[in-house]
Every structure is written in C-alpha cells, then in structure tokens.
Symmetry: C2
Subunit: 594 residues, 2 copies
Amino acid sequence: MNPNIIIQRLEALRRIMRHKGISATIIPHVDPHQSEYMSRHWHVREFFSGFNGSAGTLVVTLDTAALWTDSRYFLQAAAQLEGTSIELMKEGLPSTPSIYAYIINVSHAGAKVGLDGMLFTKRSLDALEEELSRHSITTDTEFRPADTLWTDRPPLPSDPIYILGEQHAGEMASAKLGRLRKAIAEAGAEAMYLTELDSIAWLLNLRGSDVEFNPVFTATLYVAPDGGTLFIDLAKAGDDVRAYLGGYSIRMRPYDDAPRFLASTSVKILANPATLPASVARTPGIEWVFAPSPVPAMKAEKNDVELRNLRHAMAIEGAAMVNAITDITARLEAGDTVTELDVVDTLSRFRAEHPSYRGDSFGTIAGYADHGAIVHYEPTSQTNAVLRPEGLLLIDTGGQYLHGTTDITRTISLGNPTDEERHDFTLVLKGHIALARAVFPEGTRGAQLDVLARQFLWQEGKTYLHGTGHGVGFFLNVHEGPQSIRLQENPVALRPGMVTSDEPGLYLAGRYGIRCENLVLTTEAADTEHGRFLKFEVLSLFPFDRTLLDMSILTDTEIAWLDDYHRKVLSTLSPFLRGDSLHWLESACAPICR
Amino acid sequence: MNPNIIIQRLEALRRIMRHKGISATIIPHVDPHQSEYMSRHWHVREFFSGFNGSAGTLVVTLDTAALWTDSRYFLQAAAQLEGTSIELMKEGLPSTPSIYAYIINVSHAGAKVGLDGMLFTKRSLDALEEELSRHSITTDTEFRPADTLWTDRPPLPSDPIYILGEQHAGEMASAKLGRLRKAIAEAGAEAMYLTELDSIAWLLNLRGSDVEFNPVFTATLYVAPDGGTLFIDLAKAGDDVRAYLGGYSIRMRPYDDAPRFLASTSVKILANPATLPASVARTPGIEWVFAPSPVPAMKAEKNDVELRNLRHAMAIEGAAMVNAITDITARLEAGDTVTELDVVDTLSRFRAEHPSYRGDSFGTIAGYADHGAIVHYEPTSQTNAVLRPEGLLLIDTGGQYLHGTTDITRTISLGNPTDEERHDFTLVLKGHIALARAVFPEGTRGAQLDVLARQFLWQEGKTYLHGTGHGVGFFLNVHEGPQSIRLQENPVALRPGMVTSDEPGLYLAGRYGIRCENLVLTTEAADTEHGRFLKFEVLSLFPFDRTLLDMSILTDTEIAWLDDYHRKVLSTLSPFLRGDSLHWLESACAPICR
C-alpha cells in the first residue's frame, strides 16, 4: 500500500480526535468475540496502518503513531510501515515501552484516550483505565473513527449457517443447553450471555463459514432459563435453522440488538469478564454475574460420537497426506520443480477429494530448510522456496471435516540427512514419545507433563519457546481451551475426552526447524489402590520419517512405541489407499531395525 | 492423661467463655512465629485436649468440643481423646465439616468467637472474620484462657544464643542487612518487622537452641534504615552477643515490647501478612506495607562458603551413617536383638562423635516393614519393632552441624528381597535419578520437574502423596522455602545455590515403604543460543542398596549414574573411615554388573 494513503488516513483520524478532544487512540487487531481469525470487517488496524500481520496494536496520538507487534512480524511490519510515519515497537525487547507507558508519556494530566469499547474486554479495559487513572487520564470508550473514515469497509459476512446433525455432534443442543443451565444456576445466575463464537456454535450444533479456517458464524447468544435469543444477521439463517432454533425456544434478533435487549431483562446474567466486550458490560441496567464460562470445559470433553467421528477424520486426513506426500515425492524424483506453495496446494487438493472436507483448519506451514526455523512461517509468492534433494521440510497442516478437526506436523528429510539433523530430530521425537506414553493421576495439569516433551532437548541445552500442546475443537477451532500443555501454569486438569496436541520442536535460525505433532486423546488408564490414572491415545495417523532416526539415542521402549504406532497407521490407512501411495506407506511403516 | 482432667479443664474454659460472652473458641497448635517445632510454652491445644500430635486444631463451644487433625494422627487422636467428650474430626474425609462450617452451625447470629490473635496470621484471621461476618458472627481476638487456667505453664525458653562465625555463614550480617534494606526500599517501605525465627537467625548470623531440631531462638526483629531492635528475652544474650549486635546498631528490648515499639515509629514497615500475627498487624498507629518477605529467597540461595561447609557436613554425615549401618549390620549378623529405636540411637551416637554436631535436624524415622508405609512414622517404646533378616527398613534422618544441615533417606533390605520389593524400589530410584539428572532452563519451577520423579511409578498406576522436594536451610530449619518440587504449583523458580531434597517414595499400607532421598544443589549447566540452563549437583553421600536393584528395568544411563555416584561417595568418605566401616563402604560402592 502507498504510504501516503496511510498518512492521509492518520491525518483524517487526527482531525476527528482533535474535534472530540482525544489525545491518543488505541486500535487493536481484534473483533468483539476475541476471535483468532476475523472477517475483513474488523481489520481496522490494517486500514489505519497498512500492516496486515495477525498480531499488533496501533496507537495514534496527535503528532505520533506507533505499532506494537511480536518478533514473528518484525521484518514484515518494518517493510509495511516504511514511509507511513508509524514507529515500529518491537515487543519483547527490554528497550520497548509498553503501550501504557507510551500513552502516559505522551499524555498530560486530564488527557482523554479514545477507543472502541466493543474491542476491549471488560477485564482488559478495567485494567487499562485503572492504570491511566493513576495519571489522571480518562477514556472515551465509544470512539469508532472507522465508521466514518473507512468508506468502503466490508460488511459483516452474511454467509448462511447450517445444522450439524446429531450423527456428527453426538449430543443434542437441548441436552447441552440443559447442562449449561445447571452450571449457570450453580454460578448463582439465571441466564448467560455468550460472545465466543466457537462456544455458540458448539452449544447450538450450528456451523458457518464467516471466516477462514474456523467453521463459526458471527453472533452472540443469550441463554435464558426457558429459551434464548441469538443475536445475528437474520439473513444468515434459513427456514430450517429458524425452525430448529424455535424448537429450543430460541428466537433471533439483529446482531447489534444484544445490549439493549439485555438491559430489558430483569435476571442475573452470567458472563465471562475475560471475553465480554467492555461496552456491553457497561450497558446500564444489566445485573451481571462475572465468572468464567462453563462452556469451554464442556466443549473440551468430547463425547463418544465425536470421538468415533474424529478417529474417522484422522484416517481421512492421514490418507490425504499419504497421497499428497507420495505425489510430491514422485514429482521430486522425476526432477520436476516443486515449491513450498506446491506442497500447500497438493495437501489441500487431496483433502478436498473427501466429501467430509470443509476447508483447512489453519494456513498450512510448509517451511523448507531455514524457513522451517521460522515458527509461524507460511509460504507466500515472495518467499516461496524450491525444494532440493537435501535438508528438512517442516509441514504443519490440518483440515476441517464434518467428522472433526485435524492438526499434524511432520518433519521430512528430502535427502542425505546430516548426523546433526538426525540427532536433533530424534531428540524432538523422543520428547514427543515420552509425552504420548505418559500415564498420570486424575487431576494432573498440562504444565506438570510439559517437561516430558522437553527433557531430552534440555539435557543438551536446547529448547523451544512455544507451548507443547493446545486443545483442539470438534469440527471447530483448531486452538481451543481450557487445557494446555506448556511451561506456564494453567490450573485446568487434563480430563478424559480432551483432545490436545503433542508438538515439541527445535528451531535453529538460518538452518532448519523440526517439529513432531500428533493429536492425543486423554483416556482412562487404570484404577488402582493409589487412585485413578489417565493416559493418552494417539489420534493422528501418519508415519514419522525413519531416515531421520539417530538409533544411538533411541531406547528399546521408544522403538517399540514407533513400531506399534506405524503398525496402527498402516492398518488404519491401508483400506483408503492404493498403488504408489499404498507402497509408499508400507515402506514408511516397515519395522525399525537396530 | 486422665480424661477427667481434660473434662475439668474444658469446664473451666467454658466458665470463662460464658463470663466473656464467647460462644466458641478456636485453639490452634501454633506459635506466634508459625514455627514447625515449638517450645512447650505454646502447647496450649495439648493442655486443653490431651492430644499431642504435631497438627490439629481444637474448637470448644459452650456444650461441644471437636478436634481436627489429618490422617497421620487419626489413630493417636482417637486414643488420646477417648473419654474427654472431644469429638474427632478427620480432615480430608468428605463427611467432615470445615472448622468454619462447624462454628457457623453451632452459632447464632450475633455470637462471638474467642481466639488468641497472636496465634493467627493477619491473612488467616482476615479470611476467618470475612467468613464469620457473613453470618453476623464477631470475634474477640484477645481471648487467652491459658494465661489463667494453665497454672504450671512452662515459660518461654531462656537458652543462650550464640554467634555463627563468618567462616561458617560466609556473609556478614552487615552485608545481609544491607541487601535486605535495599529490598525493603524496593517494596516501598522504610523498615521491616520479621517474626519468622529462621529468617532472624539467618539475617543476624545468630543461632540458639530453644526448640528441638531447629537451631533458632525466640525473638522478633525490627530492621530500621540505620539499625534495628531485637525483641527477645534479654537473659538469652550474653555480653558478646550484645556487643556484636551493637556493632550493627541493633538494640535489644523485651520480647513482648514489639507492638508498642512499632506503634511509636513513624515509618512505613514492611511485614509478611502470611506470618505476621494478627494482633500485631492490628496494633493501632503502625503504617504497614504488606508484601512477601524478601528474606526466604535470600536465605535459600546459599553462598560459596556455606556450600563449601555444606559439602563437608555431607561427608561428616555420610561417614557417621556408614559407621552406624556397619555397626547395626554387625549386630544383626551376630544375632543380637536390634530394634527401630536402636537404629535411631546408633545414628545419633555416631553423629555426636564429630565436634561440629549440634543435634539431629528432625526426629529420625526408622520404619521397619509395614512401619515404613506410615509416612511420618517415628518409633516409640510402644511401636518399637525388632528387625528380622528380611523385609525393608526405611531410614529418614539428618543432623545439624555447624557446617550445615543434612537430610537423607535410604531404604535397606535386611535380607532376601522379594521381586516386588526390588521392582518397587527400582521404580522409586529411577525417579530419584531422573530428577537428579535433570537439566532445565533458568526460570523453571519445581512443579514442572516433579513428574520426572514420579513418571515410572505413574506408568504402573502407583504414586506417593507427599512432595518430591523441600528447601533445606544452612545450619537452620530442615524445611524451608520458598522453592519446592511438588505436584502443586509454586511460582518460585529454582535458582543457583538453592538446596532442595529429591525424595520420591512408595507406600504400601501394611506391607512396606520405600523412599530414596538426597539433597541436591541447583548449579549452572550451560549457556547456549537457547538460553541459560541449570542442573543439580548431588550433595548427600551414602550408597543406595544394590541388593534392591531390578536390573531388568534400569537403563545403561541410570547404571552409569549410580556407578558415578558410588565412586564419588567412596572417594569422599574413605578418608573418614577405617576397618569394617571402610570395607562395608567399598563393597556397597563396587561397580554394578549387568
């Protein structure tokens, strides 16, 4: 984008700020649902800055502007902000001021900060205002300059929503609503207001396609003791959905009507202060009960039907991956030019052959050689590397199927792996196996198990900075809570039915990246005199690259685990494969010899 | 004790309660310093109940009485409370009411609960009163019936205190006070009031012998910007101590003078709300800054002199243990009768041969066979078992030396170990070794590493309910914070210089108990492109019983670790041993053969 356009937009913004007596405005990259993926309608920060990374906050004062983003985006932001007058603030560097400190530094006592209270949660705005008030700075929480300045702003998506049948969801919405109403009462409330899109989709067994990757739809939901109200663009719901919701006494009202409606009720309404928009929280006349939402924990524990479907989705996904890798391998062996983007396209193409496929679950990472060391790398036409018969290719990919959501990472040698590549790969794989093999008492938290995946890397002074495991939705968001497996404490215990990733890695800047990821299901292991013990069942199905094993550091137990796993992969995927793909898999899953 | 005496004491107590309009009184087993070991002066709960366990709280109402204690003391409490009219409340059972619930249940609105505000911390009394006030119940926090009823109450100990020289402490009190004053200023205060006895002893390089096992003395300390005041029984300090403290401008005043003195100051005083007595906290006229004490973290990171001394203490301790075990083994082989109490006495006797010895660091646990499965078992003349040439003997023991505090547990086979004993012992030992071998990045917390010690037990549906590791003081308390290695989250990171125990175990009720414990020191491992890594150095020196190894589940790495450790034990202890003891050690430390 021409930087002069950004300069003009900032000047127009400052005219409105002066007019309203606002000395600084904060423009986050977020929607009123705290979504990971957002429709274009909410890309306000990009409109005012030109920066289109997935994380970053813009602050504009009357004579300065600055954008905070993390290390993933330092290069991209520097390029996109060039000539715009916006200063890049590199998060994580000791010299970088916080947004608080920056605003306080440029503001005098009595100054006013403008922001859109729909894009701040109750909790985050309370914290911001507490900090600012110590310096006698006030806020205008209804400041929405994009409404007038962004003349060609895309509308909210009006894509239709559809019903996910009980054969996929496994539990009727009536049952889910019944369980939720019990939890609402236990929290001391009579009703609940939900704004998290995946919680609403799960609760109502509805899906949509408003954004890429997440099969959710833009709406908020009021759950009353005897029915409810879905706040949504009415054009999105056909007669079938209307009748379906009517069966649960759930009416529909326009998306923006929620605050006014909630103020008209006279019951105690439960809401999650960590996601509820501050503007809604502050609507006069609503009696709130602020507490964590019970839905993420309910949603995380998959039911038996979801699990049966999910195991099927894993087979579909595994077969598509085998077909894709066999195809890519053949093209490379034939001397064709194959790029990172070709890998991405090939994977989606083979996935799309299955009728259950509804899109990818996130943008595929196909990072060759040094690109593999960039943790959130996605190839673009500018970066697209040509694969050569050497080095490591890191593929992190997943699909959305009616039968469930998948997410898998494999690191593949394209030829002649070095001793160091094999050694590092095996360290990562040993950690992956140690976590997958874990048995642990009921009540164990992810942070307690995280070290199992890191211990072998740590022994050699190596580590990775991302988490080891995130929750995964059922035909929903590929990242969901409440559980996690990571360094940081999270009080949520791993419970039977939860699906979590197991994905240790290692990243050597400028050289290569390694990650081994399967999804694992928490299941029961044993009841003993010492209590109830849980373990993991591995769900993902695709072989690990045997040419990358350093046999000198693998134990007999680990080799037996790999052989068992490969036997299961082969027997489960074989019926879905034929020809070269089947031969490729048979060879990839052959027993490992000492 | 005759239960009628208890009934008479309770009746006398109730007369005072009626007179003061108090409907319930709470009598905890604690002193104003929240000490683990207390002088007899503070055994008020025992005076009114007859129960002398180390944990438990008595509640007396006008017509009922109940005592809460944990599972360690269920049998003992039931016996000691028999006939006293005091009901036993078994903590941890779902049917047991909380003390709150009990009091609320027997009290009417407007009732008054009596307690001694010196025995409740600011934090615990605030929480109690918040709970009670919801039911319109008030408190009288100056209710001390023992002052009148306990006519032969032992006075506070007046044992002399002494100076720990710099050759032992490694840092002069002036330097420690300087560091503390910096931390006080950083916390926004000008002075500090300390009540934890081990913090005061560490800070001033003074020691005492007021209680068993902990070389502390009863006092509280006010640290001013330019000096301080030690509140203490003036008879305890000789001229040397008086002159020594004078050098730091620290005066002495009577023990009970602190609240009045603090109220006369006009500076902001830092205090730890988790240990400060509520009565002191509520003294009018004191301007408090409530924050965690900086001292435990300072004290936990041992200096180089302390570490050099501590390594010497480990050699003294290891040699004493070898002498004791050699002696016991010889008596058993000669057919003498040897009991658990003989083991305790023999250990203390050989320790006492060294001039650095100042007592045991806790009551030795010598649990033979099924006694080993009772986690806090200490043999008494009633329970004292005779050792036979079979089964397991669990010995958990430690000494206080001028050179440092030790704490070690060994599980020893007395003959013909069963396959199950060897298998379970080896599972515990594998966990002990895995934790001892850990390498981890700076910032790692104990709760992240705990699983390393438990993983092999968990694989078989086994576990232990106590923590894996506690901090250990330098010639101070054998249990100290702030770090720990356990299931529960503790935000404190393991830092270089910290000494922590590594003590997984397994307890099979009615059969046997196993525990393997060494003290380990956190040290630097490596600085790499991925950051700074730490590891443990094993401090304790005594061989593990090789007759209890199940070779089929030990890895080469674990055997190499054991051989390395035994080589170090032998080479360090040999110069201190001769004759049979040296021969015993040479045999116990011989390389392990597959």
